[in-house]
């Protein structure tokens, strides 16, 4: 049984973040990272260090022995400062321990369930929660945040089916049945997936998006007050991470940290009718960007006419409240009236949408990709040794697919066999 860990408090900046560890080896975590296991069920203040000895944080450690914990297994809770970097570092160290891995979605609950730790009310509550979370994930997958990623995952899945089929041909049939050596075909295919996964890991997409968080587009007619609002937000928020001028004149980005959530506000200043073909191209890019964003704020003054499609959850708000607006919910980017309300509305919606597991999901994906890449490396190493190690290579590929199961869903053996029979003429 693996020992699992995950952040169990809402993500982002907060006073305290709790990372929970559960499983047979849970106490190892306290032993190796906090210098010892405290007396059961007593909070104890400890310095938390990485395996190489670097200080990560100081926090409260509580150990719950088997039978007296939420999951029914040995559990250790790390209560640390609620900063993304502390939580990320701590989880990275946990992942290095033997027999430890990041918890899958709902896995703590499942273990609690299996160990008979939950009563009916709790189970019903959890059912609702998980349901909400899976729905939210679905919504997320549709949004810009993961949309591109899930497309990629689909492509990998198809490639993995192909690769597994090619390796299966070698182990399911003898040379006399299928007289072809597939290793030279498999190696570049695997290397290609490896390249793409590495690109994700190295920050082109997932990691970058962990840093970037959400995108909120401010849209509206020219002169409706978009830039004023953006400038106000940028000035007011002490925690501005950076302020990047748009690489094109189409979109201006401002990154802020809103209640612990990293958010990039987009000012789609360039959206207007244009006869200049180059500018028109920019405009359509800006529209696409705004539509892909996680949320859109429609600033209106007078009539509503949206060039950008309005999606469920988007906010419509009146502008120039200082000059008098006809809308119930209005703000002024100049005086700051209503802006706090707007910002808290935005963060409520996004926190809702991401659910409890939002950032955790991303960390989980990151870890899954990493184990996948490790397995691919092993598989490639075996393939280089030639057909004598094809059994080992096939196992590593299976393990790579297993790592991505959470993203890809199960790859079924029938699908893989189907691929074989459609692409190979079996000799006998």
């Amino acid at each position: 049984m693996d020992t699992i860990f995950a952040l169990s408090t809402p993500p982002g900046k907060a006073g305290v973040a709790i990372v929970r560890v559960s499983g047979p080896k849970a106490f190892d975590a306290a032993e190796k990272l906090a210098g010892g296991v405290p007396e059961p069920r007593y909070a104890s203040l400890k310095k938390i260090r990485s395996l190489s000895g670097a200080l990560i944080d100081e926090g409260l450690i509580i150990a719950f022995p088997k039978g007296m914990s939420f999951t029914g297994e040995n559990v250790v809770e790390f209560q640390v400062h609620g900063s993304n970097s502390v939580v990320t570092l701590l989880q990275a160290e946990l992942a290095k321990l033997d027999g430890f891995r990041h918890a899958r979605n709902g896995e703590f609950t499942r273990r609690a369930l299996e160990n008979g730790r939950l009563d009916l009310t709790q189970v019903e509550g959890l059912a609702d929660l998980i349901e909400a979370e899976t729905t939210a994930q679905h919504a997320q997958a549709m949004s810009s945040f993961l949309g591109r990623f899930s497309e990629k995952a689909e492509a990998w899945r198809a490639e993995f089916v192909q690769i597994s089929a090619l390796l299966a041909v070698m182990i399911d049939f003898s040379d006399e049945d299928v007289p072809s050596d597939v290793i030279p075909v498999v190696i570049p295919q695997l290397a290609n997936i490896r390249y793409e996964i590495s690109a994700e890991l190295d920050g082109v997409s997932v990691a970058e998006r962990i840093r970037d968080g959400f995108e909120v587009a401010i849209v509206g007619e020219p002169n409706v007050g978009k830039s004023t609002l953006l400038n106000y937000i940028a000035r007011r928020e002490a925690s501005i991470i950076s302020d990047i001028p748009g690489t094109t004149r189409d979109v201006i980005e401002v990154r802020v940290d809103l209640r612990g959530l990293p958010i990039t506000f987009l000012d789609t200043a360039g959206i207007r009718e244009s006869s200049d073909p180059i500018e028109a191209m920019g405009v359509s890019r800006a529209i696409a960007r705004a539509e892909r964003a996680d949320l859109r704020i429609f600033l209106v003054n007078g009539g509503e006419s949206f060039v950008v499609e309005r999606k469920p959850g988007d906010i419509v708000v009146g502008s120039k409240r200082d000059l008098g607006s006809d809308r119930a919910f209005a703000i002024s980017g100049l005086s700051g009236e209503g802006v706090d309300e707007l910002l808290s509305e935005i963060s409520d919606i996004l926190i809702d949408r991401v659910g409890l597991g939002g950032l955790a999901t991303r960390t989980r994906h990151y870890n899954a990709l990493k184990s996948c890449r490790d397995a691919i490396d092993e598989a490639l190493r075996y393939l280089e040794l030639g057909e004598s190690s094809v059994d080992l290579a096939a196992e590593e590929v299976r393990s790579a697919v297993y790592a991505l199961e959470e993203l890809l869903g199960r790859v079924d053996v029938e699908e893989m066999l189907g691929k074989i029979f459609s692409s190979f003429c079996i000799g006998k």
Binding site: M1, D2, R104, N105, G106, E107, T109, R110, L113, E114, D119, L120, V123, E124, L126, A127, I130, E131, A132, E133, T134, T135, Q137, S164, A168, M170, I171, D172, S174, E176, P179, E387, S388, S389, V390, D391, L392, A394, E395, R398, S399, Y402, E405, E406, L408, G409, R410, D412, V413, E414, E415, M416, L417, G418, I420, F421, C425, I426, G427, K428
Partner: protein
């Protein structure tokens, strides 16, 4: 004429599933009746004259580990032994034996005769006897009722069998034999899910009319890998097979006559196996290939029949003759028996328990091709499972189910009862997710102890197995008792990482490029050098996979847990709004019996599984609450 009409176990059908089932019940010490249409056809091989191969060889070894018949009977009738995939890693190798058909039949008949408590009865079974929802025997034409505590049906392709040679159709389960229509109608009447499958065979050729000198030859292995753990030597002289290939002319003849083929003419509604395509299939689906290999396999030492492996067909006889004669070496060949396609009924194996007992008709078991499988080995393995379980039930003992994580038999049974069949099911190495653990070398270590505990393994085999187990443990001890530093290892020529780790000789064996001889040198004493090569070799295999097997342990555990979480048939997936419609409809269509079954469906994520588990628990708790 026989007098006893009450048995513990009655087996209908004397094919590979039937004999294995009857013998398994016999080994449990039960009185057994085996009813067959012809006493002379016990374990007859109606298709290719070979047993074993990839995946299939694993099944045969497992049957042997439980003291079944197939491996030992095959070893005694083998005229060519070959270990397939020898170059590809020990877990995926499979022993294959070319069989002398008539010797096999004699040996099988003598095994059954030797088993004192098996009564072989000739007759046609017309019906099953049902009393109070239990099946308690069968009704046989002219003989009347034969009663038994457990009844096993292994009728192969005989239920509703139809044979096609070109556009000609005859009813039969095998060339020259009638099919069982009465029983087929009875099963349909009972509402057992019946579907149609098809399979085909090639024409049989007269060896004396083949120009062998024009052909290349394929020899057997010099050091044979036997199918049975107990076999020490070959029993028969060994032969070579011929190898030839189809050509453009062959393909042209077939293409021009496709419309005359039963398979292509639309006369057959059943689904055929994708992995064993007819020559018609090969020529049309792989049109770019200019030739297809054909293996000419003699069917016996004193038999002029040759089985041309690779050209099964349902074309008319004259077309068969002309395309076969277009092949090199077969220019003058005489066809002894034309190739044919056969279409037959199978029962949906989803209605069976993992013991192969029908889930509603208690006391009734099904095994073999009738469950939608193909191949002697698949049939025999199911016969064994059904025979053991029917026997255990007759003794009022708990059933024995086989696990995916401990045998290929378990993989097959689980696939059958959880997913059913859409094409003839064949074993493949890739169907076993734990294939590195499920190897031919350790089939006995996986199964013999279980077999001995239920009483189906002889004392002789048990003693043999116990010796092997002891030797392996001793060898492992010697190879693991001392670790060597990287410096020590470098001095004797190993190159290892300088990571401060000590490595035992056993651990060294897992490194690529390290072989047994190097490691044996490292162990200072002579003890290890005195070990039997087969024991050392197995230790090397264990070492090769040790780290991956360790990694799989948690997966095995998770599977065991998921298997215990059963999903009721009336489970309402619609309630789970967190699941996508695609996932929901997949679950509804497959009706998984357990979470483990659900987990194996295409595209199911761990999150979706958790959602189902929670719902199961919720329903269970709220029932308890109300109750």
């Amino acid at each position: 004429m026989f007098h006893v009409k009450q048995f513990d176990v009655v087996v209908v059908g004397g094919g590979h599933a039937g004999v294995e089932a009857a013998h398994a019940a016999h080994r449990l010490g039960l009185s057994t009746a085996l009813i067959t249409k012809s006493k002379y056809d016990l374990g007859v091989m109606s298709c290719n004259p070979a047993i074993g191969g990839l995946g299939k060889g694993h099944l045969v070894r497992e049957i042997d580990a439980l003291d079944g018949l197939m491996a030992r009977v095959a070893d005694r009738s083998t005229i060519q032994h070959r270990l397939l995939n020898r170059s590809k890693g020990p877990a995926v190798r499979g022993p294959r034996a070319q069989i002398d058909r008539s010797v096999f039949r004699q040996e099988m008949a003598s095994e059954i005769a030797k088993a004192g408590n098996i009564s072989v009865i000739e007759g046609e079974v017309l019906d099953i006897i049902e009393e109070n929802g239990r099946i308690c025997g069968v009704n046989v034409a002219k003989l009347g009722d034969i009663r038994a505590t457990s009844t096993i049906i292994t009728t192969g392709t005989f239920l509703g069998g139809k044979i096609f040679v070109g556009r000609e159709v005859v009813f039969g389960g095998r060339m020259g034999q009638t099919s069982s229509k009465a029983l087929s109608d009875r099963f349909r009447g009972l509402g057992l899910g019946v579907g149609r499958l098809k399979t085909g065979t090639p024409p049989r050729l007269n060896s004396r009319t083949i120009n062998w000198d024009a052909l290349s030859r394929q020899e057997g292995d010099t050091h044979p890998e036997f199918l049975s753990f107990m076999t020490r030597k070959t029993s028969l002289p060994q032969i070579a097979c011929g190898v030839t290939a189809t050509n453009d002319l062959t393909h042209e003849i077939i293409r021009n006559n496709l419309h005359l083929s039963a398979m292509y003419g639309g006369d057959i509604e059943g689904v055929g196996p994708r992995y064993c395509p007819s020559i018609e299939d090969k020529v049309s689906r792989f049109a770019d290939k200019s030739e297809h290999q054909v293996f000419l396999e003699p069917e016996g030492l004193n038999d002029d029949t040759v089985y041309p492996n690779g050209i099964s067909t349902s074309l008319p006889v004259d077309i068969q003759e002309s395309y076969v004669r277009s092949i090199r070496g077969l220019e003058q060949v005489e066809i002894l028996q034309p190739g044919y396609a056969i279409e037959y009924d199978f029962l949906d194996p989803k209605s069976l328990e993992p013991t192969l007992e029908h889930s509603e008709l208690k006391g009734l078991y099904f095994a073999g091709q009738i469950n939608g499988t193909t191949g002697y080995e698949e049939a025999a393995a199911q016969g064994l499972v059904a025979g053991l379980n029917a026997g255990l039930a007759a003794k009022e003992l708990p059933g024995l189910s086989f696990d995916r994580s401990s045998s290929y038999i378990g993989v097959m049974i689980d696939d059958l009862v959880s997913r059913g069949v859409t094409e003839p099911y064949r074993m493949f190495t890739s169907r076993a997710e734990f294939r590195l653990k499920l190897r031919i070398d350790n089939a006995d270590q996986r199964l013999t102890e279980i077999g001995y505990s239920i009483g189906c393994v002889s004392e002789d085999r048990w003693a043999h197995y116990s010796t092997k187990k002891g030797r392996i443990a001793a060898g492992y001890h010697i190879l693991s008792r001392r670790g060597f530093t990287s410096h020590e290892l470098e001095r004797v020529g190993f190159s290892v990482k300088h990571d401060g780790q000590k490595r035992t000789p056993f651990e060294l064996l897992s490194l690529p490029g390290v072989d047994l001889a190097d490691v044996v040198k490292l162990v200072e004493s002579n003890e290890i050098a005195e070990f039997e090569p087969s024991i050392l070799e197995q230790l090397a295999i264990e070492a090769r996979y040790a780290h991956l097997l360790h990694r799989q342990e948690s997966e095995v555990e998770a599977l065991a847990k998921d298997q215990n979480l059963t999903i009721p048939l009336d489970f309402d997936y619609e309630r789970l709004s967190g699941l996508s419609n695609e996932v929901k409809s997949k679950l509804k269509a497959h009706e998984p019996k357990t979470i483990a079954h659900a987990a194996r469906l295409e595209g199911i994520t761990p999150a979706a599984l958790t959602r189902i588990v929670i719902e199961l628990r919720r329903v269970e708790l709220s029932r308890a609450h109300v109750g």
